[in-house]
């Protein structure tokens, strides 16, 4: 209960533009959000950028938070930022393909993706999952969201969400054990 009150005070402070409140929010959520971004991108540099983008956006967006589960709210923003990043990456890829087709080697965009930073077992297994399932598993794990909240966030039936997360976690379990 005390934690909830503390968080409510921090959020109020952020809404009033208090720098210290943002510092507290950053220290409370940076670990979870960074883990979420890293597990989805497997790239520290991209994760750094996405985390920065999220907190800078939060300065303006925090006034729109109207109560409810703050974790669900902030992870919804994180999910949007990640999906925007994916779309931009796909656009770059498409542009690269078109330029390849035109055989314009001299103006090719440089390869944006850097090599993965880690090769831990979990990361390798996560790579085998489809992106939708991977994101759902990470949203549940780092956002500590219930299946009902996940279903609401993704606007999908709870049965679909249950099935995807179960499939993902079962795969992780089978491959690790």
């Amino acid at each position: 209960m005390a934690e909830i009150n503390d968080l409510a005070r921090i959020i109020d402070g952020c809404k009033n533009g208090n720098s210290e409140s943002f510092e507290k929010l950053l220290s409370l959520y940076s670990g979870k959000l960074y883990g979420y971004f890293f597990r989805l991108t497997n790239n520290r540099s991209v994760s750094d950028d996405l985390l920065s983008e999220l907190f800078v956006k939060l300065v303006e967006k925090i006034k729109f938070y109207r109560g409810g589960n703050f974790d669900a709210w902030i992870f919804k923003i994180a999910s949007n930022i990640f999906n925007d990043y994916l779309r931009a990456k796909q656009r770059d890829k498409r542009l690269g393909t078109r330029l390849d087709d035109l055989d314009l080697d001299q103006i090719k965009t440089p390869e944006k993706e850097t090599s993965p930073d880690t090769t831990d077992k979990i990361q390798t297994i996560l790579e085998t999952l489809d992106s939708d399932t991977r994101e759902l598993v990470m949203l549940r794990f780092y956002g500590q969201l219930s299946f009902k909240e996940l279903a609401e966030l993704r606007r999908e039936p709870i049965g679909t969400v249950l099935s995807k997360v179960h499939r993902g976690l079962k795969t992780i379990r089978q491959m690790l054990e």
Partner: protein, 169 residues
Amino acid sequence: MKPENENLEELFGKFLNENDARKAAEDITQGEKLLNEYPAPKPEAALLLSIQARINNKLRQTKKHRSISIGYWSTATAAAVLIIGFISITLLNRTQHPQITDRPAFAVSLETEDDFLQDDYELLLLAAQLQDIEDEFMAVQSGLNGYYSNIADELEIELLEINSDFWKG
């Protein structure tokens, strides 16, 4: 509701039989336990400092933007109040001292009425002069001799002239 408070078996029980629901719930619990055993890297301190600096910068921009917006609003409001005040005063003055600009029908009739009054006054003045001359003429005619007969003729002529001038307009 936090995931630890969820009754996974009950949740899966809506879609699966009891045995499968229990197994599915077990898969979820064990899978999440494994994820805990392999934590993702933490953000570096330098990154957090950089983010905090960007947040502070954004906060400053937002505050500056807000005060500029307030300034614009205040100026616009003051200008609107001045314009409305000016229009109100102008309209009020017009109501108190109406000015005829388009000469509507009622104004024309008022003007015509004024002209009639002026004409009546002039007519009365003329009638009084005529009466004076007539009196003078009658006095001369009643029992006066030849010395005054010329004067009587002159007065009669004068009277006729005035009379005809008047009817000429």
